[in-house]
C-alpha cells in the first residue's frame, strides 16, 4: 500500500469491509455446488444464491446461477481479490469452467475516531444542514451525504466516523480530509 497522504490530524480511516463482484462467465448448477462443497448453504425458497464461506481471508460469497458472484467481508482490496479468486477456484474444482472476469470493488466501508466529542445538533443547523440528517429519535448518528466524492458518512457524538459507499481508497481518504476540519469546528 502506498504511503498515506498526510492529514494534519494524523488520523487515518481504516477499512472494515469491502464488497466486490466478479463474473465467472459460466452458468452454474447451484444444487451441485451446494451438495459438493462443505462450507456452503443454499435455500432456494429463501434466496436464490449459494452462500459460501472461506476461512482465510474470512469472507462470504453469494454465488448466483448466472455465474455472477458477490464477495464480502474482506478487510483490504488485495484480500478481497484473493478471496474472490479462491472462490472461483472452488467453483473450478467442482467442474465448472469458471473464469475471472470484471473484478470490481463496489463498496468500501471505513471507520475512524477523531478523538473528540462532536456537537451534532449544531452541525445539522449550519450550512452543512443541507447534506445532513440528524434524527436522534430514529438513529443516534448524523447521516452526512457528501456530494463530492459521493458517499455517506455516519458521524456519532463519541467522535467515531463511519464512511461508506467509496469505490476507491482515495475516495474515503478525500472524504475524511474534507470532513475533519468541519468536525473540528463543532468540537464539544
Amino acid at each position: 500500500m502506498a504511503a498515506r497522504r498526510n492529514n494534519p490530524s494524523g488520523i487515518v480511516p481504516t477499512t472494515q469491509n469491502i464488497v466486490s463482484t466478479v463474473d465467472l462467465d459460466c452458468v452454474l448448477d447451484l444444487n451441485h455446488i451446494a451438495l459438493h462443497s462443505r462450507n456452503s448453504e443454499y435455500f432456494p425458497k429463501r434466496f436464490s444464491a449459494v452462500i459460501m464461506r472461506i476461512k482465510d481471508p474470512k469472507t462470504t460469497a453469494l454465488i448466483f446461477a448466472s455465474g455472477k458472484m458477490v464477495c464480502t467481508g474482506a478487510k483490504t482490496e488485495a484480500q478481497s481479490k484473493l478471496a474472490a479468486r479462491k472462490f472461483a477456484r472452488i467453483i473450478q474444482k467442482l467442474g465448472f469452467p469458471a473464469k475471472f472476469r470484471d473484478f470490481r470493488i463496489q463498496n468500501i466501508v471505513a471507520s475512524c475516531d477523531v478523538q473528540f466529542t462532536i456537537r451534532l445538533e449544531k452541525f445539522a443547523c449550519t450550512s452543512h444542514g443541507a447534506f445532513s440528517t440528524y434524527e436522534p429519535e430514529l438513529f443516534p448518528g448524523l447521516i452526512y451525504r457528501m456530494k463530492q466524492p459521493k458517499l455517506v458518512l455516519l458521524i456519532f457524538v463519541s467522535g467515531n466516523v463511519v464512511i461508506a459507499g467509496a469505490k476507491k481508497r482515495d475516495d474515503f481518504y478525500t472524504a475524511f480530509d474534507n470532513i475533519y476540519p468541519v468536525l473540528a469546528e463543532f468540537k464539544k
Binding site: 445539522a124 443547523c125 443541507a130 440528517t133 434524527e135 436522534p136 429519535e137 430514529l138 457524538v157 464539544k188
Partner: protein, 313 residues
C-alpha cells in the same frame, strides 16, 4: 293584473297573476297562460345590526385550494343511525362511482384530520400536513407505500415545521398500524421528495428535550414550580456530554424533579406512560444524569441536601 293575448279567446284579455301558485290566468276563459313563474324578489331580509352566524349569502364550507375544484362538488352523506340498506342502494353506489379525481385526496385529508383530532392539534398543523401530503402525491411515485405511514409522517413533519414537535411514538399511537420504523422511513422519503421538487426547502430543526417538557409535565399533572424547574434543568443539561435521545433525557429529568418535590410522586411506570420512554431507559438515563444532577437542577427548586437524598442509581 295586466293585459295579455289569450290563445283561447283570441284577443287581448285581462290576465290575473296568482302569486300563490305562480300562474298567469286569463280572467275570462280561465286558461293558464304561464305556470311556475319564478319570483325574483329577495329571499330574505338583511338588517344592519344583526350579523349572527348564519349569513344566508354564504353557502358551503371554506374553499380548499388543495382540492382540484376548490371543493365545490356535493357529497351524498350517510344518514346517522341504521343505514344498512342505504349504502348498498343506488344513491350510495352513485356517490362512490369514483369519477372525481380528488377522492384519494379527500380520504387522506379525512384520515389526517382524525389523527390530528386525536392528538389535539390546531388547524394550522392539520392544514400544513394536508399541504405536504398533496405535494408528495403530485409526484406520482408514492403508490407502493404504506398509506398510513405516509400520512402519519406528513403529520409528523407538519408538527416539526410548526415548531411543536411530537415524538414519533406519539404519532404512532394515533396512526393505525404504522410502526415507528415505517413512519421514520416514510418521513425520509417525504423529505427527499420535497427536496427534489423545490431545491432543499425542507426546514426542520433538530428536536430538543425542552420542546416536549410542557406537554409531558402537564400529562403527569406537575405543578408550575416543577414545570419551570424541569425546563431550566433540561436547558442546562444540554451543555453536558450525555449521549441519550432527547426524549429519554426529558423523561429522566422529569423523574428527578418529581422525586425532589414533596407532592405525590409519579412512579416510573407513570412517567413511562406519559413520555413513551421505556422504564429501563429512564433508569439508564438517570444513571447518566446523576453525576451532573447538582449542576442541572436549579438551586431555587431544591437544596443540596435534597439532592444528596436522591436515590443513587
Amino acid at each position: 293584473m295586466g293585459d295579455a293575448f289569450c290563445s283561447d279567446c283570441k284577443r287581448q284579455t285581462e290576465v290575473v297573476f296568482d302569486h300563490s301558485a305562480g300562474d298567469t290566468v286569463c280572467s275570462e276563459c280561465g286558461l293558464v297562460l304561464e305556470s311556475h313563474s319564478i319570483d325574483e324578489t329577495s329571499e330574505w331580509r338583511t338588517f344592519a345590526n344583526e350579523s349572527g352566524d348564519n349569513d344566508p349569502v354564504r353557502v358551503g364550507g371554506p374553499t380548499n385550494p388543495l382540492l382540484a375544484d376548490g371543493g365545490l362538488s356535493t357529497v351524498i352523506a350517510k344518514p346517522n343511525g341504521g343505514s344498512g340498506e342505504f349504502l348498498s342502494s343506488s344513491l350510495g353506489r352513485w356517490q362512490n362511482r369514483g369519477s372525481n379525481p380528488d377522492r384519494g385526496l379527500i380520504l387522506a385529508f379525512k384520515t389526517i384530520a382524525t389523527m390530528s383530532d386525536r392528538l389535539g392539534l390546531v388547524a394550522t398543523i392539520k392544514d400544513r400536513a394536508n399541504e405536504i401530503y398533496k405535494r408528495v402525491e403530485d409526484q406520482k411515485s408514492s403508490r407502493g407505500r404504506n398509506q398510513d405511514a405516509l400520512l402519519a409522517a406528513c403529520l409528523y413533519i407538519a408538527c416539526r415545521q410548526e415548531d411543536k414537535p411530537r415524538t414519533v411514538k406519539e404519532i404512532c399511537s394515533v396512526a393505525n398500524g404504522a410502526t415507528k420504523k415505517e413512519i421514520g422511513r416514510a418521513k425520509e422519503y417525504i423529505v427527499k421528495q420535497l427536496g427534489l421538487e423545490t431545491g432543499q426547502s425542507v426546514e426542520m430543526g433538530t428536536i430538543h428535550a425542552g420542546d416536549f417538557m410542557r406537554r409531558f409535565c402537564s400529562n403527569l399533572g406537575m405543578n408550575n414550580q416543577a414545570v419551570k424547574a424541569a425546563q431550566e434543568a433540561v436547558q442546562k443539561s444540554e451543555e453536558f456530554d450525555i449521549r441519550r435521545s432527547p426524549i429519554s433525557i426529558a423523561a429522566a429529568v422529569i423523574y428527578i424533579i418529581t422525586q425532589l418535590s414533596e407532592e405525590k410522586k409519579p412512579s416510573l411506570k407513570d412517567i413511562s406512560g406519559a413520555t413513551g420512554v421505556a422504564e429501563g431507559t429512564i433508569r439508564n438515563s438517570y444513571k447518566d444524569l446523576y453525576p451532573h444532577v447538582l449542576k442541572i437542577i436549579p438551586s431555587w427548586f431544591a437544596k443540596e441536601e435534597d439532592l444528596k437524598n436522591l436515590c443513587s442509581p
